[in-house]
Symmetry: C2
Subunit: 251 residues, 2 copies
C-alpha cells in the first residue's frame, strides 16, 4: 500500500471494518452489518462494499457469507506488519507488558548458516542480539537476531533494554520490505532451558525470520524460540481464499 | 468468492499472475511484468492491475514494489483452500506422492476436549480417524481427525486407505466454510514415535485444526503431528499488509 495516495473507497470500508473488529465493536460470532447498511453508511455502491468484504475474508477475519451475513471469526489476527517484526509491538497489541533481559549485543564473525542467510562472507562481521523476552514479567521467548554490519551498527550504541530493536532500525531508515517466517519444533538446549525456566529438552516452537529490502537484499536472519505452552500462533483461512501458509517437505 | 459470478478484471489478472508464479513461469527473484505491460496484455486501465498486485502482496507472493518492479518472493504459498484441509492435496501440490496407513476409523464416545471443540455432549457419539501419512513413502505426519456423528458417518463406509477423507466429505456436501489452525511444539509419545520412526520425546510440530460451516457450526477438530525435521510450515508478509498470523499468550 502506498501511504502517499488517498485510500480508495473499498480500502476505507475495509479499514473501518478491521478497526471495528480489532476494538471488539464487532465481536467473534457477531454478524457484520448487511451490504445495504454498509452502502448507506459509506454512501457507496455495492462494488466497494463487496470488495472490502473480500479483503477481510482473505485476511481470515470474517466467514465466507455465501447466502448469509458474514460473521467475525473466533480468533482474529492482531498483527500489523510492524508486529510481525517486533515482539515488543506484538505483545503490546495483545495487552501484555513487554519486557526484556539482554544477554549480549555483539559485533562478531558470522557463523556459516547466518552468513549464508545474510549473504555475507563466512566469518565476516555481523551484529547479533541475544535477549530473553517477557510478557507481563513471564519469560516466554528467547530471541537471537542477526544483522549485516551496515544495518546492525545502528544497534551498537543502542540500549536494547530501553525498547524495540526494530523501532530503532526502522527509525534509522532500514527498508524492511518483506519477510518469510517458518516454524519448527526443537528441544530446549541448556541455555534456552535456564532462560525460560523449563527442563532441557522441552519442545519449543521456533520461528525463523528472514527479512529483505524491496531489492531483495537480506536485512535480518533471526531465531525466536517460544514457550509453546504459553504462546500459540495460528492462522485463519476462509473458503474461496488461498491459505497464506506455505509448506516444504525435505527430501 | 462466489463461484457463480464472472471474475472481475482485477481478479482475472491476479489469477493469471498467481498461476504464472505457481508454474514457475515467473520464478522467485524474477521481476513481474511492468504495470504498462500488464495493462496492454489485459487491455486494462491501471486500476485493476494495481488491485491485482495488491492482492498478490496480501497473499505474500510478491514484494512491495514501492518505486521498483515487484519481484516474486523466495518461498511462495502453494496451498489452495482444499490443500489446507487435505494433506493428500497439499502433498500432491508439492510434487510428493501421498500415502497413508490407517490405524483405525471409529465411532466412539467423545473425550471431553473433543466434545467441547465439536460442540457435542461429552461421551456423545463422534467419528474419529487415526492415520499415518507418508510423502514419497516416508512417514511425515500422524493425523487424528474428529467429526460430529452426522458428518463422520460418511466415513464409516469409506476406505480411508483409498484416498482423501476430505474429498469424501466435500463430495457428501459438508460445508467447510472457514478454519482456524494453530501451531505448537509437543514431544512425540510412544505411539507417535513408533509410527514416525523417531525416538520418544522428539519435538513434533503440532497443528490443531478447527473447521466450521458458514453458520459457525463445528465440522472438524483435528490434531496433525509433523516430523519437524522433514516438514516446514511458513508464511510470507509484505510491508503495508497485516500479517495473516494471530498470536495468543496464555496468562
Amino acid at each position: 500500500m502506498n501511504p502517499t495516495r488517498p485510500l480508495q473507497q473499498h480500502e476505507e470500508i475495509a479499514a473501518w471494518l478491521r478497526d471495528a473488529i480489532g476494538t471488539r465493536e464487532f465481536s467473534p460470532g457477531d454478524p457484520l452489518p448487511s451490504e445495504a447498511e454498509l452502502c448507506r453508511r459509506f454512501n457507496s455502491s455495492r462494488g466497494p462494499v463487496r470488495q472490502a468484504m473480500a479483503t477481510l475474508r482473505s485476511e481470515g477475519l470474517i466467514s465466507s457469507g455465501r447466502g448469509r451475513r458474514s460473521t467475525v471469526l473466533e480468533t482474529t489476527p492482531t498483527e500489523t506488519f510492524e508486529a510481525t517484526i517486533s515482539a515488543t509491538t506484538a505483545f503490546q497489541r495483545l495487552g501484555a507488558i513487554p519486557g526484556q533481559e539482554t544477554r549480549w549485543v555483539a559485533r562478531r564473525p558470522a557463523p556459516a548458516d547466518v552468513a549464508a542467510a545474510l549473504g555475507v562472507a563466512e566469518g565476516g562481521p555481523i551484529v547479533s542480539v541475544h535477549r530473553l523476552r517477557l510478557a507481563d514479567a513471564v519469560p516466554v521467548l528467547v530471541e537471537r537476531q542477526n544483522y549485516p554490519l551496515e544495518i546492525g551498527r545502528h544497534l551498537l550504541d543502542f540500549d536494547p533494554d530501553a525498547g524495540s530493536v526494530h523501532r530503532r532500525l526502522l527509525d534509522a531508515g532500514v527498508d524492511y520490505d518483506n519477510l518469510a517466517r517458518s516454524f519448527d519444533a526443537i528441544p530446549a538446549d541448556a541455555d534456552d532451558a535456564e532462560l525460560l525456566d523449563i527442563a532441557p529438552g522441552t519442545p519449543l516452537l521456533r520461528l525463523t525470520l528472514r527479512a529483505f529490502t524491496r531489492a531483495g537484499e537480506p536485512v535480518e536472519f533471526s531465531d525466536y524460540r517460544y514457550r509453546s505452552d504459553l504462546v500459540t500462533l495460528g492462522v485463519n483461512t476462509v473458503r474461496g481464499n488461498p491459505s497464506p501458509l506455505w509448506m516444504e517437505i525435505r527430501r
